[in-house]
Structure formats: C-alpha cells, structure tokens
C-alpha cells in the first residue's frame, strides 16, 4: 500500500500535451475546438491558429477527446512519459456539407460518382431502414410496399440492376421482387456509399444501375473497452429500439460487437391506422481483426438480420378486372377509390398477422490481406450467406399459418485480388471471383412456387487500371463474368412434371473514367460504362398471380441479355469555401431492357379476371440530372438545396417507362449558433421536400393514375453534451410536421392507402 502511494508521488506531473487542429479538407485551423483528457477532465480550447496546450499532465495512458461543433468527436489513446505533440485533423467542412465532396486532392479512390451517407447522418436518422436512409441523396429514391419494406432506386433503376453490398460482399437473396427489402441493418454501418456509374467493376454481379455498399464502422485504435448505447422511440407506430455497440483494439485482437432490437406497431396516416403494418427486428454483427504477421491481416465479419414485417391487411384484396374491356371491376374501382383501406381498425395494434414476411439473413465473411510491400498486396476473401424468406398470405381455413412462399437461399463466394502500384502513379488491381447460389423452395406452402428452385455458378474476373497525373486522373476497367443456371421448374399443366433448364451466359463490362481538376476548387468527371446483364430466374420463369399488384406475372424463358451504356458527366466545386455546388448529368441507354409489360390481355382464373404482365425486352433510355448546392453564411448557418430530374422512355414502343421516380426537390437550412444555455452545442434544421406528380406516363399504363404532387416539412434538433465525461447525443425529429395527407407514386400501397402522417422521433445516444 505504502509502495503504491510512493510510486504515485514519484510520478512526473510536468508534461505538456499540445498540437494543432486543422480541417482535413482545406488545412485551415479549427478555432474553438475543445481538447481534453477524459480521465482527468483537464482540457483546453484551440486558439485562432488552431493551437491548443494542456499543461501539468502526469505520466500515464489517457484518452484525448477532441470535439468541435458539427464534427464527429475524435478520441485518441495517448501514452504520456514526456511532452507530447498531438496534431489532429478534423472533418469540419465535410460534416457541414453532407453529400458534397471536397476537392483539394482527389478525395476519392475512383473517378466514379460516389455519394456517401456518413455515420453522423445515419445516427441522426436511426429510425430509418436502409433504403430510406439513402433517400436524401440526390438521384436516389425508394420503391416501397408500405413503410417497413423499401428498396433503393438509383437513377430510376432498382432490384436486379442495383448491386447491394454488405461490407463489400454482394448481398444475396433479395434480388427479385419489389416487395423485398434489403436484409441489412443500417445501425451496423459506419457509412453507406452509393456509386452511380456503371463502374465498380470490382464486384461480381450486375451493376447496370448502381452499387450501394454498406460498410461497417472501423474499429478505433484504442486498447480500452469502449462502447455506445442508443435508444429511440417514434410516435408513429409507437416504435422503440435499442442499439448497443462494444469495441476494443488491443495488441492481441481488435473486435467490435453491435446489436439492435426494434419493435413497431401499426403505422398511421394523417387520419387512420394502417392495420398490420408493424415490424420487429433483431440484429447482431461481430467484427474481428487480427494481424498474424506484420504482413498478414485477417478480418472476420459475422452478421445476422432477423425480421418480421407486417403488410397492410387492406392491400390483400382482389383487384380483378372486367372480362370485356380490362377496366378494373366494380369491386376493384371501389377499393381504388376508397378513402380508407379495408380492414382499417380504429385502434392501434402491435400484433402482426398475415399478410406478413419473415426474413432471416446470415453472413459470414473472412477476409485476408497479405502485404508484400507498401506497393503490392493480395486479398483473399470467403463469404457465405444464408437467406431464409417466408411470406404469409391471408388464406382460407387456417392456412394463413402456413407460408405461401418459403425460400431458402445459400450463397458461397470466394475471391482473390491483387493490387500493385507502379512508379507511384499507376495502380493495377485485378481479381478472380466465384459465386455458388442454391435456391430451394419448401413444399410446405401447398402452392406452386412463384420462383422455381435453381442453382447457379458464376465465375468472373476483372482488371482495373488507375493513372494519377496531377490534375488528371484516369480509370480503365474491364470485367468478364460467366454464369450458369440450372433451373428445376414445375410445369403448370395438370401433370406437374419437372422441367430442367440449363442456361449459360457470358457478360462483359467496360468502363472508362476521367477526372480533371480545372482548379483547386473545381473539378470535372466523365464516365462511360458498358455492361451486360443476364436475365435473372424471376424474369425467366415467374408464373403466378401477384397479390397486391393484382397482376398475373409470366416470365419468358427465351429472354436474352440486356446491354446498358451509361454516361455521366459531373461537375463539383466551391467558391471560397462558402458556396458549394455539384451537378451530375446522365444518360443511360439499355438495349433489350427487361421489364414487366402489361399485356393487352386478361387471364381468367377461378379467382377472377386479371391483367397479364409478361416479362419483355425492349430498348429503353433514361436521362436525368441531379443538382445540389450549399451556401455557408457562417459556421453556424447554412442553407442548401437539391433537385433531381429523371425521364425514362421505352424507345421500341414509344411510351414512357413505368415506375420511374417522380422529380423532386429538397431545401434545408441549418442553424447551430446557440452560444449559451440549453441549446448550446445544438443544431436545428428545417427541411422542405417537394415531390412532383409523375406525369410522364400514359393513362392505360396503370390501373390508378399517379398521385398528385406533395410537399413535406421536417424539423430536426440535435444536441450534444457530457455527463460524467461520457458524451451524450440527443436528437428529436418531427416528420411530416403538418400531417399532410399524401401518396407516393413508388409506394405500392398507394393503390390502397395514404402514406405516413406526422411522426416525432426522440433518440439518445451515450458513448462510453
């Protein structure tokens, strides 16, 4: 005891910690940032040169916390046995400007137009699912089947044409069906990247539309145990959620565990409850990183996503048509014109009954990086996925307990990549990949499967070449992919015999990109990409009545590949770091575009007469532009605006393409200049969104004409403070502040009900 006391007094407490705090983007000093030692509470504020100094620090290991309004806090583990200099770069401007890049040097690895949803934004919108998280990016919208089932749409393309990656692994299992949401928990993510070109040839799978990559948070360089706890509640749906994260990075191992639980009940429109629209979710992700040798780094990633999602009860009604002319039947007219959907209850329920979906998705990824030297490295990756999906319909005589669709999909993926730098400005990356997919229906359903059983093998190889020449950056890429499908289809004639199909497809992709830095503050980028995509099993062999859309969908076994050419031209820049702007113009031509065509014919089944939708191929063109701008009046006040325009046409038949997002605009203003009192370290943001009516559509292309334009107002309030040296963030968000009654064109439930009414979300997050 005495000895310990003695050693304490012998400690040197004369050390100084000092350094400069600068902005990572433009290297200007950050003034007024707070720097303090978490353990002792001792701290300083950076001066006009960004300099800070903390004196009289005793020897020992500490955490240095650097925080500045509007930035993600930085925490560094430091060892003090002498005077220490710690310089810190903070992403101040970047955080002021969500979704806009800063361009001193090439901020991006690729010439592709990439937008990023940062951790800060994800944490401000914890109540949103993955697709809805992306919705505030320009050029990104969502197709929905109610609020809990949403799928991202990028530049008008979605589903099979948008590649979704979970930690660089192609997500398997959700590629068909617009009513299948991606099985990824956004609260596990550190950032979400959306690449809008044809590029990203590095990944196996179709990237005709875009690539969305959900990346986990990096494990901090800190040997101590840290974590965070989050709780939020939402009034609309009476939702509650907790999220817990723990991490440690010691000499032996770096690890991180994140878990989320969510429960929502019936959502509400501006004036009635949406019966059976609740959901529950339970997710867990584990990251482990270990350096075996100096050169060999191994990473494991394990995630499990489990969800039960209710589907609006009133959306499962028969929208049959009249036999003579294909007009919606009287009953269908009644449903389409009703104020409220059928089965609307006057009370709120948590219970989820049929129709519903039960989804389980598990991913195991093992990634190894072997560094030969600073310029050259190999990567070996294995990823296995299991996706189990059960969909329950309202069926007669107790059969609602049985799934109407029960699918199990297994995927195994292996990849070897090689990367090498030459003469400091060339970089070549190449790789080879293999994916095995096995999709099996469970016959317990008592219904012939909509998607047949199949297995597929895919082998692909790619090469990317980067050339970096001061103001210019070039990128060339190519990919070849062979895919084999073996399909076991149950024949629909009375014999129910099994037909086997063997398909072989060869796909090619080529991409060229150029970036040009006209000045320090202005740069251009041009991308041209060509890629082919083979038809997926659903497009080839679907057969059956699709409830809710009331169409009889028939696949076409003779479909061929589609070929897309997409050109994007982007301009980004700023004036004096005050006015920031970005623009992107794109044109996408797709030959043999595969889509569901409403046929001018009707099928009479024993359940009524329905319009037939057949998968067809035609030439299509999608053109559009995205604009975004921000003006910073001061550090404390900014205004911004975004606008997206898109137009899709079926060139072969000279008609508009269906399911194109409506044009939309978003304006926001943010103020965080509260100096004193309760709102100190708070930001308040006002958002106004205007969605135009989708008028590029002919009357006969839909059973219900697209909904009117609508406008929504949202208010955000975020606040940060410390309780016992732990950082606490709170946020409150009011969505649809005026309780506007509206319907959205891409929400399939618009045939039956209004969209969500007013909702207040309150959340609190503690870092420790």
């Amino acid at each position: 005891m005495l000895f310990v006391q003695h050693s304490f007094f012998a400690q040197n407490c004369e050390h100084t910690v000092s350094g400069f705090i600068t902005d990572v983007a433009n290297k200007t000093p950050i003034i007024g940032a707070s720097v303090f030692i978490k353990e002792t509470g001792k701290g300083a504020i950076s001066n006009t040169k960004g300099y800070y100094q903390i004196s009289n620090v005793c020897s020992g290991t500490y955490h240095l916390v650097i925080s500045h309004m509007g930035c993600e806090d930085k925490e560094k583990s430091i060892l003090i046995d002498n005077n220490l200099k710690v310089d810190v770069e903070m992403a101040h401007l970047v955080n002021m400007l969500d979704g806009i890049h800063l361009l001193n040097k090439h901020p991006k690895k690729s010439t592709q137009n990439t937008q990023v949803v940062k951790l800060k934004t994800i944490q401000k919108n914890t109540h949103l699912n993955l697709a809805n998280q992306l919705e505030n990016l320009t050029g990104v919208s969502t197709v929905k089947n109610g609020n809990s089932i949403a799928k991202p749409v990028v530049h008008g393309l979605y589903g099979n044409r948008v590649l979704l990656l979970n930690n660089n692994v192609v997500q398997s299992g959700q590629q068909w069906g617009n009513d299948h949401a991606p099985e990824i928990d956004p609260l596990m993510a550190g950032s979400i990247q959306v690449t809008k070109g044809v590029g990203a040839l590095e990944y196996q799978g179709s990237s005709l539309g875009a690539v969305i990559n959900v990346l986990p948070k990096e494990i901090q360089q800190d040997p101590h145990l840290h974590g965070n706890a989050l709780y939020f509640t939402e009034t609309n749906g009476n939702g509650h959620s907790i999220n817990l994260g723990l991490e440690q990075n010691n000499a032996f191992l770096a690890w991180r565990v994140t878990g989320t639980l969510k429960k929502y009940g019936d959502r509400k429109t501006s004036d009635y409850y949406l019966n059976n629209t609740g959901f529950t979710e339970a997710n867990l992700a584990v990251q482990i990183e270990k350096d075996f040798l100096k050169k060999w780094k191994s990473k494991w990633f394990l995630s499990t996503f489990n969800s039960t999602l209710g589907v609006l009860r009133g959306s499962h009604v028969t929208l049959s048509t009249q036999e003579e002319n294909g007009e919606p039947s009287e009953y269908a007219q009644l449903v389409l014109q009703a104020d409220k959907p059928q089965y609307t209850e006057s009370n709120f329920f948590y219970a989820i009954d049929a129709p519903k979906q039960e989804v389980h998705h598990h991913l195991l990824k093992w990634e190894n990086e072997y560094k030969i030297n600073e310029q050259e490295s190999y990567q070996f990756t294995y990823a296995g996925q299991i996706d189990q999906r059960e969909e329950y319909d309202v069926r007669r005589s107790g059969r609602s307990e049985l799934p109407a669709l029960s699918l199990m999909q297994q995927t195994h993926f292996m990849e070897v990549k090689h990367q090498k730098m030459y003469a400091s400005h060339w970089e070549i990356k190449k790789g080879i990949q293999y994916t095995f997919t096995d999709n099996t229906n469970n016959p317990e359903t008592g219904i012939l499967p909509l998607i047949p059983d199949y297995l597929s093998h895919q082998i692909g190889t790619f090469a990317l070449l980067d050339l970096d020449l001061n103001a210019w950056k070039f990128e060339f890429g190519g990919r070849y992919n062979y895919s084999y499908q073996n399909v076991a289809y149950i024949n629909r004639d009375a014999t129910r015999t099994i037909e086997k199909y063997n398909n072989n497809f060869h796909n090619y992709s080529l991409a060229i990109g150029v970036d040009y830095h006209a000045t320090e503050d202005l740069f251009w980028s041009l991308n041209v990409g060509l890629t082919t995509r083979n038809p997926e099993v659903n497009e080839l062999y679907s057969y059956g009545l699709h409830q809710g859309v009331s169409g009889f969908e028939i696949g076409k076994p003779t479909l061929g590949k589609e070929t897309g050419i997409k050109t994007t031209l982007g301009l980004e820049g700023n004036v004096d770091f005050k006015w920031f702007f970005e623009g992107l113009v794109y044109a996408n031509y797709i030959a043999d575009y595969i889509y569901l065509q409403p046929e001018n014919e009707f099928t009479t089944t024993i359940r009524g007469t329905f319009p037939v939708f057949k998968y067809q191929q035609n030439n299509a063109r999608i053109v559009g532009f995205d604009l975004g701008t921000n003006y910073l009046f001061s550090d404390a006040f900014k205004v911004g605006g975004k606008f997206s325009y898109i137009k899709g046409d079926n060139l072969s038949e000279n008609v508009p393409l269906v399911y194109m997002p409506a044009n939309n605009a978003l304006f926001s203003t943010e103020f965080k200049g509260f100096k004193e009192g309760f709102l100190k370290n708070s930001a308040i943001e006002l958002q106004y969104k205007y969605v135009f009516e989708q008028d590029h559509l002919l009357t006969h292309q839909d059973i219900l004409s697209p909904p009117d334009a609508y406008q929504l107002v949202a208010i955000n309030l975020t606040s940060e403070f410390y309780i016992a040296k732990n950082k606490v963030k709170t946020y409150a968000k009011l969505n649809n502040a005026f309780n506007t009654k509206y319907r959205d064109y891409l929400n399939r439930l618009r045939y039956f009900s209004d969209d969500l009414g007013r909702s207040l979300i309150v959340g609190i997050k503690v870092n420790f």
């Binding site: 005589s397 004639d493 024993i606």
Partner: protein, 201 residues
C-alpha cells in the same frame, strides 16, 4: 504463383459442387379450387341441370372449353347446391398418396372447409337476368347466409343471361346489404369469381 495455387483450389471446389439442381418436391396443393359445380334440381322429379367450371392448373389460365353450361325452364323453382372440389380428377396419384399419409382431413374438400368457417365465407350470385330470383337457404351461426345452398326461381319472363358467382373469404358479413346478396360493401378477398351463361329452355 500464389494466385494460380488459389485458383486451382477454387477450381477443385467448383467441381466438387453439383451442377444439377435436385428435382423439387411438388407441393401438395390442397387449397386449390379446380372445379366449381352448380347443380340445380327442379322441384318435383325433374332432371338436375349442371353447370361446371373446370380449371386444372390452379392459378393458370382457364380453358373456356372446359365449361359446362345448361338451361333453366321458366316458371320453375330449383333447389341449387354449389360444390367446390379440389383436384379430384387431376391428381389422382397425389390423392392416393395423401390418404396414405394422414387419412382424410379436409384435403381438397373445400365445401367442408367453408362450412367449418361459415362466418368467414359467403357466395354471391350476381346477375340482372329478368325473371330470375335467387335466395339463400342456408345460414351460419350468426344467421347470415353462406350460399352453398340456394333456391333459383324463374317466372315466365325468364330468358337467360350471365350469372356471376363470387366466393369471398374474410369479408364483412354484417355490412349493409351483404346478407341479401349485395356484394358492394362486403370487402374481403376472392376465392372464386366466375361467370356462367344460363340458357333458357
């Protein structure tokens, strides 16, 4: 060198995995309604008139030639019975198989299922044929009609026409007019929606 080794390992892995998907087990479609038979027996001892709709491929397209239709006489009262029968003729092997499995539940016997859940089912007979009156003669526990059994009455103005028969489940049987056969406010989901042409003798 390293790359080629790993590639070789990959290739072996590929070969080890099957290239042929196993035959799927064909689901037992016991929910399927393959036949709708409406039998009208005239009062007294006349020959029954039978209407039948046959749909052998479930959700697939119905072949209109598989329809059997008949004619009604004027000034006659018929007691009518509608019967929904599953895959009776179409899947004899399956049926035999089922019997082995678990005796005889309700497999394929949709009429029995409808009776068991009478409160959640109702047939609607929709027409504007002059001189034809259709009345329900059965009832569920709440005294609402089911429509498996009805009476068709013709008078001398009867000349025939189209009769639409709709079976709904999970409908609101207490909604206005529903008990009298008016489908307007019924709601629910269709199991059957077919039309027969009723002839006139």
């Amino acid at each position: 060198m390293k790359l080629s080794k790993i590639f070789a390992a990959l290739a072996i892995g590929v070969l080890a995995i099957s290239c042929d998907k196993d035959d799927p087990e064909v689901p037992n479609e016991n929910e399927l309604i393959a036949n709708v038979t409406l039998t009208l027996t005239p009062a007294g001892d006349g020959t029954p008139v039978v209407f039948q709709w046959h749909d052998e491929n479930g959700d697939g397209v119905v072949d209109p030639n598989e329809k059997i239709e008949g004619s009604l006489a004027t000034n006659t009262t018929y007691s009518a019975v509608i019967s929904l029968n599953g895959e009776e003729d179409d899947h004899e092997e399956d049926e035999a198989h089922e019997d082995h499995d678990h005796g005889h539940d309700h497999d394929g016997d949709v009429d029995e299922e409808i009776k068991d859940e009478a409160e959640a089912h109702q047939f609607f007979y929709i027409h504007n044929i002059a001189g034809l009156t259709i009345t329900y003669t059965d009832a569920d526990a709440n005294d609402n009609p089911i429509g498996l059994e009805t009476t068709f009455t013709t008078d001398d103005t009867y000349t025939g026409g189209g009769l639409q028969i709709v079976l709904r489940h999970e409908l609101n049987k207490f909604a206005s007019g529903v008990a009298n056969g008016d489908i307007t406010n019924a709601g629910g989901d269709n199991d059957v929606d077919i039309t027969f042409q009723l002839g006139s003798d």
